[in-house]
Structure formats: C-alpha cells, structure tokens
Amino acid sequence: MTYLDYQATTPLAAEARQAMLRWLAEDGFANPHSAHAMGRAAKAAVEVAREQVAALFPPGGKVIFTGSATEAINLAIQGRAYGAIAVSAIEHAAVRDTARAVGSYHELPVGPDGLVDPQVALPDGLGLVAVMQVNNEIGTIQPVAHLAERAHQVGALFLCDAVQGAGKLAAPASADLIAVSAHKLYGPKGIGALWIRDGVELSPLIHGGGQESGLRSGTLSPALCAGFGAAVQVALARQEEDAAHVSGLWDAARDELARWTLNGSETERWKGNLNLRLNGLDVARLMSECRRVMFSAGSACASGSGRPSHVLRALGLSDNEARSSIRLGFGRYTTREELIEACRAIDAAAKTQGV
C-alpha cells in the first residue's frame, strides 16, 4: 500500500511519538495548570513545546495552542470585529466558511496558475485579508509577503493559513496571524496553533479556565504539545533535506505521468503536491482500480461530497476537468520506488479507461 495523501494528514514522526510517550506514561500525567510540583513539571513541558513551535514563526509574537488549525483560524477571524474581509478564492473551507459567516466577505480571484495576483485590487473598508501560504489541493505557493504588505497599506491585518507550508517553508514574516496544524507536519492530531503578532488583540471563543493568556480555555495536553514541539523541531532540522527529497520525488512522478496536465503553477509550488488531470478520466473508477494507492480527489474534507472542487473551478477549469483531476501528495517517508510504482499503476489504470 502506498500512501500518497500527505495533504490530508501525515504519518506521526517517530520523534513526535517518542516525545508524547513521556507524557502518556504512568507517572507522566498532570494538569499543566495545577500549581503543585507535578503540575509545574507538565507546565514546563508545555512551555518547552511552545518554544519549539515558536521557531516556526517570525519573532515578535506569541503562540496560542488550539485543538486544531480550524480552531486557530476561527479564533483569528471571529476573535475581532474586522469589518470587511477579503480571502482568496482557493482558501480552505475553514477560512472561507468562517469569513462568510462573520459578515462582509470579498473573494480575491486567482489566475489559471492558481496564484493570487500580488497587485490584485483590494476593496475599500477592509479589516482583514486572509491568503494561505500553500494551497492544500494544488500546492501553489501564494505571494503572501507581498499580499501582507498590501493589506497593511490599506490598514488591514493579514491572516495566513500556513497549515500546508509550516515546517517546509519559512513563515510569512509580515503576517499578523498565522494558523498551523501539527498533524500536517508529522505531529499528532488534536492540536494546532495560532501565532499572534504582538499588539494584535483578539477575544476568545472558548472561555473557561483562562488558559493560553485567556485566549483559549481548556486543559492543554502535555503529550500533544510535546509531540507537536518535537515534530516542529525535526521539520526545521530536516527542512532542506525534506525539500530536496520531495523535489526528487516530484521529478520522478512528473516523468512517469508526463502525459497528464498539471493543475496550478509549475514553479510557484510545494513539490510534495501533484494535482493532475486527464480529460475524460473517471476518478471514482480509477480509485477503485488502484486500491493499493492512497490518493484523493480534492481535499479530504470535501472528498466524497460529490461537489467539484472550488479550488479547481477558481483556476477556470470546467466541472468535467475538475472531476477528472487527482491529487498525489508525498513527503518525508515516501520512497522513490513506491512512488514510481504507484504512478505506473495509476497511469495504467487510466489507460484501461481509454484516456
């Protein structure tokens, strides 16, 4: 079985698992908000993890642990009254749906390459601009540094969903709010973080014990925090190595699937994401015929919904083109041999469809 769905989730790194085990051990429990000695030890572990996670981000801000990136994004968007919000047309539903729900919503288009134009017109009265760093469906890297500057010029804050880019690319230095998720960078599920630039005030969505500077109540899990921290540490230490590995995988897969059309920019992209289409392809049939290759059509969250991807439509693809697209995602633990074998299986299965 070959797992080619690294955008949906990544395997838990052995280092992250190891860091978690210490806090899942029989004597490893304690509420990090308790004042006694055991509580203080748990708190120390949470703070070490916070430092490790903070290394993902620019200086001059704080890391708030959340239950997921979705929650981090909700906190960023709902935690403040912004007035109008502009988001790219290819944002994840966590950004799109939340921005839509809170009020005046404006969509920034992308070109056929899946990129927002850095000179895109911004409407008046903007309070927040949200553009993701790396798209989860097509892997394109957005010009976030430039867009953050543009947002600041019109007096708006800039939120970056860095879920797919964190640990792989440097964080956008000029963003005001950055959301990340542990399980997309080989850490555990159940934890994410919001980075908040100093001076940006938010109000909490989850009240209670007042944890996380009052911004996010709920007992923090030392195990999840430690696993997240360790995963970040490994990702940063291996950043170049991981990128080189993924780049090699990309070249191999592109060679194997040379007759397929790439969705999204060839150059401005994270190379662990290969979104391809073949006119006339029946993706559901392909998936059932390639049962040993785990890949997806669109994002995990939307898959199975039957709706054509809003991302592929935003590129200008027809519904039929969107429906004949697949996403192959690979990363640190993918081997070249298994990827090549999987690509050949996919291509052969497509050929049996006559496409």
């Binding site: 989730t9 749906d97 014990g209």
Partner: protein, 343 residues
C-alpha cells in the same frame, strides 16, 4: 522534596488508564485522515465511528455525539450554537460556562451548594453542572430536567466531573472531558439529544465541529469509559475515613450535608490560608489544590464557595481521589494535614 509524590488532585486531571494508552497507541498506527475516501481513511473513519457507538453505549446515551477538544470547547459550542439563547446558569458553574453567560440569569445555590430545581423552570437554555468541580456537590439533576422541560426550555449539563462516574442525565446537551475519567487530555464530547437543537457551522462531525478528528484520543476515550466505575465503592470508603480524620483534627467539610461525588471533597482548615496549606503540602510532595486547577495560584476567593456563603472560604482546599488512591495514601495525607494544622 525527596518524598514520592502523592497525587490527590484527580479532579484537575487523572492518570491515563493503561487500556486508554493501549487504545491511543493503536490509534497512532491508523493515522490516516478519517475524511479521506481511500482505504486507510475509511479504516480510520470506521475506528472513529465504532468508538462513537461504544462511547454511546458506555454512557447509555441514545442521542448524537460530537467530538471536541475537551469540555470547554463542548460548552462553548453548545452555548454558541443552541437554537435557544442562554437564559440562566447556576452561580457555581465552571468558568467555562460562566464566562459565556453574559446577561443570562444566575441561579443561586443554598448553603449546601444546591440549585433549587423549581428556579430552573425557564424557557431558553439553562446550564447546570452535574457535579461541582470544587466541592463535589451533585445537583438534583432529575428534578432540574423535569423543571426545565415543563417550561419548554433546554438543559445543558456540564458533566466534566461526573461523566463515567454517575449515570448520564436525561438532558438535552451534555459536555464532557476525557481526561477527567482516565482518558487523554485534548479530547471531549458534546452529547446532543437531537441534531435539531443545534445550528450547524459546516465541516466535520456532521457539520457541527470543524477540524480533523483526533482518532487516537477518541479511541482512548472509549477505552477509558469502558473501564467502568466499580472503584467508586473503594473511593467512598477512603473518603469516609479521610473526612472522619479531618473533622477529628479540627477541619471542616464543605457541603457535608449535600449529595457529593465520592472522589471530590473540599475541606477548611480554620486559621490557615489555603495558599499556606498548599505550599506546605507541596513541600511534602502532596498534590492538592485550592479550587480548580485553572484558578489555582490566582488567590481569588472561589466564586463557588462565595455563592454558598461559606465561612472562611480562603481556608478551603480540595482533595480529590482516583482509582489508584490507597488507604496508605489517605493515612499519609492525614498525617500531613495534622502537621500543617498544628504548626
């Protein structure tokens, strides 16, 4: 500080049960995204759904279950998304409810910490905890359910301290947290009698809670609930002994006349501030707390004890026992208590 730690703060969090740890490690192995349509994704989904039905069975809950990151999130979700606005909350709720309460009425409690069920006959959403986290007092939940229902209201129960220990109440919305009953920190649930009681937001969990589901922690939560509650009999005996000795040593039991969970007790040591007590106990390796973990160290007077009209509220500490607590642990604590009280 060389003494072995004695942990009597199980209301703050309690150790992960071995069965829960096993379940979590198994969950690490099925790490695919349960929303993915491929085989590993479907396997993760199947494990998630199986755990959901096991949790329903363990809690004897026939309604729906939404997985969250914990009780605080479950409570926030319930209050924000309920079709009825929040009308009233008890004065002794956890901050996770109180801080959302805004203009909602505060239901007072008597000296035993009990809400008058008749006062709960309100339309709108009424939030009352099953068990208080600081005193262990068990509310008259059946009567409260009847009162709320008679008035056409909806009842939200914070069951963070009671889930897995007491029967699940017949409420409309119930919040719980796994790490209070031997599951992991970082996962909880909102039990929902009927989907029609909540407005969806989109995303996972049938559109009621976005975010990739934390499958390992959910599996561990199911295993922890299935571990059962036979141990509570032993807890009851240990607590009886603890309280006899505390009273004999001049201490005072908070809400002694109220129905109380056998694992949580609040005790006043007259003439000694809770903070001074905690420092002394901590110095002997004994972990207890003043009020909730979240507010410990804040030196604020507990709003719970204040609402009960408790005399000497700042001299009260919480002692909470767990599955592993032994008679020897209780003896050690009593000896320490006498030392702190006498010095």
């Amino acid at each position: 500080m060389s003494e072995t730690p004695l942990y009597l703060d199980h209301a703050a969090t309690t150790p992960l049960l071995p069965a829960a740890r096993e379940a979590m490690l198994h969950g690490f192995a099925i790490w695919a995204n349960p929303s993915s349509p491929h085989a590993p994704g479907r396997k993760a989904r199947a494990a998630l759904e199986e755990a959901r039905s096991r949790i329903g069975a363990a809690l004897d809950w026939k309604g729906e279950i939404i997985f969250t990151s914990g009780a605080s999130e479950a409570l926030a979700l319930a209050i924000a998304r309920c079709v009825q606005p929040l009308a009233a909350v008890s004065a002794v709720e956890h901050e996770a409810v109180l801080r959302h309460a805004g203009e909602a009425a505060r239901l007072p409690v008597d000296a035993r910490g009990l809400v008058d069920p008749a006062a709960c006959a309100l339309s709108g959403l009424v939030a009352v905890q099953q068990v208080n986290n600081e005193t262990g007092v068990i509310q008259l939940v059946d009567a409260i359910v009847a009162a709320v229902r008679s008035a056409g209201g909806l009842l939200l129960i914070d069951a963070a301290q009671s889930a897995g220990k007491l029967d699940t109440p017949d409420a409309d919305l119930i919040a719980l947290s796994a790490h209070k009953f031997g599951g992991p920190i970082g996962v909880g649930a909102l039990l929902v009698r009927d989907w029609a009681l909540l407005r969806p937001t989109g995303g996972q969990e049938r559109g009621y809670r976005g975010g990739t589901e934390n499958v390992p922690d959910v599996l561990a939560m199911a295993a922890a609930l299935e571990a059962g509650r036979d141990w509570l009999d032993q807890a009851r005996q240990l607590r009886e002994r603890l309280e006899q000795e505390i009273v004999a040593a001049g201490g005072e039991i908070v809400a002694a006349d109220a129905p109380r969970l056998p694992t949580i007790g609040a005790y006043r040591m007259p003439g000694k501030s809770a903070n001074a007590q905690l420092i002394r106990f901590d110095g002997q390796g004994i972990a207890v707390s003043a009020g909730s973990a979240c507010s410990s160290g804040s030196l604020r007077t507990s709003h719970v004890l204040e609402a009960m009209g408790q005399v000497g509220a700042n001299e009260v500490i919480r002692v909470s026992i767990g599955r592993e607590t032994t008679a020897a642990d209780i003896d050690r604590f009593i000896t320490a208590w006498r030392g702190v009280a006498g010095a």
